[in-house]
Amino acid sequence: MSVGRPALTLVWTAAVAAVLVQSLALSPTSRLAPLWVAVPTLGLLLVKLVRDLVRGPEGAMEPPSAARVASVPRSIDERRARRPREARLAAWALLSLALVYAAGIVVSVPLVLAPFLRFEGELPWRRSLAVAAGISLGFYLIFVRLLAVTLPPGALL
């Protein structure tokens, strides 16, 4: 997630390079447009990579645009401070994915919400369970019953 500028650029560079290599195995018609895009994109990525490496981790920050005023971490300390939360977020995301896959979304909602509200929202257990139950019930009544949204079942349930 917030892995810093050169690392993110490297990931993108690797992805575009992989596309470029795969393009060469395609027929001339199929690879025309991808090559026209991949080659200059790769060039720009290499320019950015060099720029990020030269500037270093603290680097010169571009003037923030109005569209991203608050979210861009201003210093390497701020980036480091975000990493534990990002790791926790990744854990919650993986747990949610696993539960939805195994049990379906209807069962997963209260199973994820209650501990999230308890451990992240710092609510007492009773209130966490009550709020989770309320939201789960509301979700079920509105989307599953009223709007009849079709949702896939879990693999195990």
Binding site: V16, L44, V72, S96, F143, V149
Partner: protein
């Protein structure tokens, strides 16, 4: 014919129960736009899969309201908390917040509401006036023109990513490459699936939108440790005069018209969007008003950006409806919704289904006015919403995103893709990469490739002579100029650089 279509569209809008959809859409857009960092785009991304089984008419009624319904409400948090509800509302903060601190919050909000409603109406009227002109021009638009126009749209989007131009261009390139995944439209060759059957039909857009915008915003809210959306205490009772605020707009008709024209004109340009429109209008207002105290609570500093921001909706619909080229995140969602429901923008739509176009336009006007009227009434009470704890908002919006991803095609793969692009979107956001470049490129990839191959084929058989196509030459010059301007600016001697205000 245009007048008849406009009348038919108006009748359809106000026919029961059609009327309910724009009302519901407006209220939802108001709620979402009011929450800084969440925004109307997240709502639209959520709405697309949930309205999959709806008719094209119902979709147009809802999405017209979603496009128009959020623009004013974001200004309320700008005025009350100095936190823009959406990026285009940032310019409103400059004078709106000082006004609120002086006890004139109601005055500022009323001015913003009135300017929004009138600005959007002017923008829409200009759009309607341009439709007959565009229908004539469309005859001259062939595959080569579409390619250059799409490239110009992408270049403009990337170029206006202030301070992140390189990242904007790279994101656009990456978006195009993601759009090429799947079956080649001409040869049916499988491309860039890396062995995953799931990607055979290409990368589905809905999970990408949900992840890139909805999930990424919630991830950022969680990680940034804000206790509430606005991170501030509530405003208490609002003071000031609504009548004075509304009257300020009517007392400055020239400024209103100037800002609306600027907003509409900027809205037509793909990729430029509300943020640029509102700031350009603000800057022009500051320059054109000699006795202004802009930045210190001048009511005209609220009028100008709000009028421009709403007028741009009318302008931005023109490239979407005429060419299928979106210019902002909102129009990307609109285009995706229309296409998924079998409404294909372009000459056919403007020729054969003008009534549906006018239903969209009327829904947009209606929602703008309803937002202003309702927002004026509930602004003070609604401000309390921003004190909802982030830890409650994050799982609820996250749940809606998961629901949207699963409801789309009932595929767990879509959910995984949503989370993946959530991570990508979060990474882009915290590292200052513009996501709008990526999504516009993704949406344009197929259009670009098909027309590029067609144009090259026409050239091969001698049916495309560049010098015989003045529109194409003009578009090529425009593209070259757009790409060269930043370079020329850097080469200019330092002393001649105008300092931005």
């Amino acid at each position: 014919m245009i007048l008849q279509a406009a009348w038919d569209g108006l009748v359809i809008l106000f026919t029961w129960p059609n009327f309910l959809l724009p009302v519901v859409g407006t209220v939802l857009a108001m709620v979402f736009a009011f929450l800084p960092g969440v925004g109307g785009v997240t709502l639209m991304a959520l709405a697309i899969p949930l309205t999959f089984s709806w008719s094209p008419l119902a979709t147009v009624l809802l999405f017209g309201a979603l496009v128009g319904g959020g623009t004013f409400m974001g200004s309320v948090t700008s005025i009350l908390f100095n936190v823009p509800g959406t990026a285009p509302n940032a310019a409103t903060m400059l004078d709106g917040y000082p006004l609120a601190r002086r006890g004139e919050a109601n005055t500022a909000i009323a001015c913003a509401a009135t300017a929004s409603a009138l600005g959007s109406t002017i923008g829409i009227l200009l759009l309607v006036a341009l439709i007959p002109v565009v229908r004539t021009v469309l005859i001259a638009v062939g595959p080569a023109e579409v390619v250059v126009l799409a490239l110009w749209g992408l270049a403009t989007v990337a170029m206006v990513s202030r301070g992140a131009m390189l990242e904007g261009l790279i994101a656009a390139g990456f978006g195009l490459l993601v759009g090429f995944v799947g079956l080649d439209p001409r040869t049916a060759e499988v491309r860039f699936t890396f062995g995953f059957d799931y990607l055979h039909d290409g990368v589905p857009m809905i999970p990408v939108f949900l992840g890139l915008f909805g999930l990424a915003e919630m991830m950022d809210l969680y990680v940034s440790r804000r206790r509430t959306i606005s991170d501030q205490a509530g405003p208490g009772r609002l003071t000031g005069s609504r009548r004075r605020g509304a009257a300020a707009v009517l007392k400055n008709p020239r400024l209103l018209l100037q800002s609306s024209l600027l907003g509409t004109g900027i809205g037509v340009i793909p990729g430029v969007g509300g943020t640029v429109a509102s700031f350009v209008a603000y800057g022009q207002a500051a320059r054109s008003v000699p006795d202004g105290r802009f930045g210190d609570g001048d009511i005209r500093g609220v009028l100008a950006p709000e009028a421009a921001n709403d007028a741009k909706d009318g302008g931005s619909l023109l490239p979407v409806l005429a060419f299928g080229i979106p210019g902002s995140e909102g129009t990307v969602m609109l285009l995706a919704a229309l296409t998924l429901h079998g409404v294909v923008p372009g000459p056919e739509l403007l020729r054969n289904d003008l009534t549906l176009v006018f239903v969209l336009i009327w829904s947009l006007i209606f929602s703008n006015w309803l937002t202003s009227l309702l927002g004026l009434g509930v602004a003070g009470r609604a401000a309390r919403v921003t004190r909802v704890r982030a830890q409650l908002l994050v799982p609820v919006i996250g749940l809606l995103v998961v629901l949207g991803a699963l409801a789309y095609r009932g595929s767990f793969g879509d959910l995984v893709l949503t989370f993946l692009f959530g991570a990508v979107g979060y990474g882009m956001k915290v590292n200052g990469w513009p996501r709008v470049s990526f999504v516009i490129a993704l949406v344009l990839a197929s259009l670009l490739e098909i027309n590029l191959l067609l144009a090259l084929r026409l050239r091969e058989v001698g049916r495309l002579q560049l010098l015989d196509r003045p529109l194409l030459m003009a578009l090529v010059l425009l593209l070259v100029a757009t790409l060269s301007l930043p370079l020329l600016r850097r080469l200019r001697p330092a002393g001649k650089e105008a300092a931005p205000s």
